[in-house]
Symmetry: C2
Subunit: 152 residues, 2 copies
């Protein structure tokens, strides 16, 4: 294959969230009911959760800074990445946000109707990473939870 | 079901990247060989790419700010989220980074060995969203590209 014919496949293997204290952050995700793929023998600076076909990793902010060759203070703010957890019906949104609060997360926007017909709330994890809990009537989830864009 | 028995399933439906100019940003992802799920009749403020079981969306920064009820200037910096595109062999990392450059991306760190035995490069898209191109010998990809944490 000619190198200029190369394309990237449309997939994301790992979503990494840099966090100040990996174990404290992991307790939040554990509190949502998530099961770790990493165990007590794994290094302290990473906790991984397997999702369908990919992994979400919590990774030490200082390690990521070192990997990227940037000062740790350069990691901060909100770069405009959100992760959405879509649910099967409108009335599942608020209970998930309640669960988030019990686990130690912070609500950024309570569940509410949005102009295009969805029902959405926003929260952030203990490090400020932003999640959306959404019901999108135009993009129903598959039985196994898979999502495909169906417009909005 | 008692509401306190509720858990979140371990999945991410949408990865949304807020961008200044959605169409300009989409041309970068198009240039990687990605196929849009949205078409010319869809609203200008969103371009969606279907990934396995989830969608990556480019979304107008000003719209996200409005959705969250924050000023647009509050979106900036680097919050420490990285998306990793894992490849099947070490010698695929550099050609993907070359493709990224041809498409208009910026290399943050050229392909190099990392202490735990992986081979990794970092790039950012036109809005500064950080991606990793990685070969992790401890987590081989499935035939269909699915990734599962296998340690590092």
């Amino acid at each position: 294959m000619n190198s200029t014919d190369l394309t990237m496949e449309q997939r994301v293997s790992l979503i990494t969230l840099a966090v100040k204290d990996v174990q404290a952050s992991a307790r939040f995700y554990d509190g949502l009911g998530w099961q770790r793929a990493t165990g007590p023998d794994d290094p302290d600076e990473v906790v991984a959760y397997n999702l369908p076909g990919q992994t979400l990793g919590l990774y030490s902010k200082s390690m990521l800074a070192k990997d990227l060759g940037i000062p740790e203070e350069a990691i901060g703010g909100f770069s405009g990445v959100t992760l959405s957890y879509n649910v099967r019906s409108k009335n599942e949104v608020a209970p998930v946000l309640d669960l988030v609060v019990r686990a130690g997360g912070r609500i950024l926007k309570p569940a509410s109707e949005i102009f295009w017909g969805g029902y959405i709330g926003y929260f952030c994890d203990p490090d400020g990473h932003v999640w959306e809990v959404a019901h999108n009537p135009f993009s129903p989830l598959d039985k196994d939870g898979a999502f495909r864009w169906g417009g909005y």
